[in-house]
Symmetry: C2
Subunit: 325 residues, 2 copies
């Protein structure tokens, strides 16, 4: 795709085109404030509620953009991806809306509610062992044997351009944000958000947040090359992916920083948002709130945007109740 070799950047036009293409298919999610969060953090915090997006996560944006970019031959073959959940639901719905068939490779450890939701959108689900290696190998086999078209969950310019839409809407709606915090796993949301800020709010500093237990984005930026994780364990199971060549290039080129948060802080932040903001968010979405509550970043007196990236949670297994079981 044009512009994504060196200098590694999708164009403003590519972002605008994706936004236009997606408009009929996505919710323009609300930006909510919280007196509690502002007081706790000592800042003005603007929460872009992508947990209220269709399929319960921002991931729909990238999946739709990718699937609606496919040619007839590719649509006839069908699409495949591996995902612990949100990309799976997103790709399943995107495929249904575009009239093609989706196959999702999901780890056996995925919450039952996510697997059921994917099947509910009419997609085929293939379960595999919960390792990155097994997931990738299963996709590779399906591409080879069945001719399916892989739509990676993050490392794809079409996914990045779609994911950029959430930050783009937030920056349109709220002027003069000093910071924009987003979760980072594979880096689709971070690189998309960094691009949106680059074109629409260049003074806004974009920061990714990831679990300390799976801090591969931080390590990658520090070393100047992509560091792969070794199947880390974190409550934020949506942030297990690694940066890829496309997302790493964008993040690096635009100078986005990455902060880390501890497991306990993620659970505390998640519970706080449920209790005080009445929003169901998943652990992966709570990392930015955790970074703010933990004062990992100096935001006092400033205006900070955060993207609450998703809300898909198994309501029978809440992290603050798990330890008692």
């Amino acid at each position: 795709m044009a512009g994504l070799s060196d200098p590694a950047l999708l164009s403003a036009a590519a972002l605008a085109e994706a936004a236009e293409r997606l408009r009929p298919h996505v919710h323009r999610t609300p930006v909510l404030r919280s007196g509690w969060l502002d007081r706790e953090v000592g800042a003005e915090v603007f929460c872009k509620c992508e947990n209220l997006q269709r399929t319960g996560a921002f991931k729909l944006r990238g999946a739709l953009n990718a699937v609606f970019s496919l040619g007839d031959d590719e649509l006839a073959r069908g699409v495949v991806a591996h995902s612990s959940g949100n990309h799976a639901q997103a790709l399943a719905l995107a495929a249904r809306e575009r009239g093609t068939r989706a196959t999702l490779v999901m780890p056996q450890s995925a919450p039952a509610v996510k697997v059921a939701a994917v099947r509910g959108y009419g997609a085929r689900v293939i379960l595999c062992p919960p390792t990155q290696a097994a997931r990738k190998e299963t996709v590779r086999r399906l591409v080879a044997e069945e001719g399916l078209v892989e739509i990676h969950s993050s490392n794809d310019p079409r996914i990045i351009a779609g994911a950029a839409g959430a930050a783009r809407e937030l920056l349109e709606e709220v002027a003069e944000l000093d910071l924009l915090l987003v979760p980072v796993g594979g880096g689709g949301l971070l690189s998309g958000s960094a691009l949106a800020a680059h074109y629409h709010a260049p003074a806004t500093r974009v920061i990714g947040v990831e679990p300390a237990a799976a801090a591969t984005a931080s390590s990658s930026l520090a070393r100047g090359e992509i560091v792969l994780s070794n199947d880390p364990r974190t409550v934020a199971d949506g942030l297990l992916s690694n940066l890829g060549e496309h997302t790493f290039a964008v993040v690096r080129r635009l100078g986005a920083a990455v902060a880390t948060v501890e497991e306990e802080a993620i659970v505390t932040a998640m519970r706080g948002v449920w209790e005080r903001m009445k929003l169901v968010i998943e652990p992966s979405a709570a990392v930015t709130v955790a970074a703010l509550l933990d004062r990992r970043l100096d935001v006092a007196g400033r205006r900070a945007g955060i993207i609450l990236s998703g809300g898909n949670v198994d309501l029978d297994r809440l992290p603050w109740l798990e330890t008692r079981a």
Copy 2:
């Protein structure tokens, strides 16, 4: 207050005045749609998210309107009320914003998180046995001994005028609703909503929904006189109050109907909203969703508004997990 004797109706001007008085102090809560809910119900459903209101419930509207209507002498004495939770939080915050002191009588069975929130707003909490009789007696004693001014949680024209604001905003924002469903306990929200519809959308039919286990509003309308409950047990602990003379008069005069829902349907609806809409609502707020999902009302093909009245829940005690403990 003018207009609330017979013919029992607050004026459109009183509602407008309350809305104006409250504007700087309340959120204009969002109206959200859900593909899931529309499909399940076969209708267009518009959800007014008062769970996202300050203090987590619509109750703030009435409490603010009442406290901001007090004279200097009353403000000097301080206010008192009994409440299982949401009115308590609302009155505590309203008193703080108006610079007076609130005393809240709460049942010993109230969720710890609600008691803590009330104290967090700087109010005095007095716990009493969890019966309506004990709650009323404790308030009566405080009024007599300390000269406090009682602000009842629902049966007060100022409370009704404030509560009307949620429906008023919804009806302003969404045209041509066929129905408007709201929970009914003491009837503040139902009578306020009926008044708002009466003045701003007379073609919209207003329906209260209550737990079958605490169906005193239905009984009262059927008998033509206020029926008192005998400390019923329902998961919807915010709907234990009875209609009072003011709320009963408005509801009867405007011909609002009341439907009932079973306990299991309330829990299912609550869980559905958390899981699919990513909104934390309390059981009392789930009764309208339960009525829709259970097809208790013929809404197919129509436009229905509902007020998601609150989201204050003890996250350590979720009803769908309780039976397993």
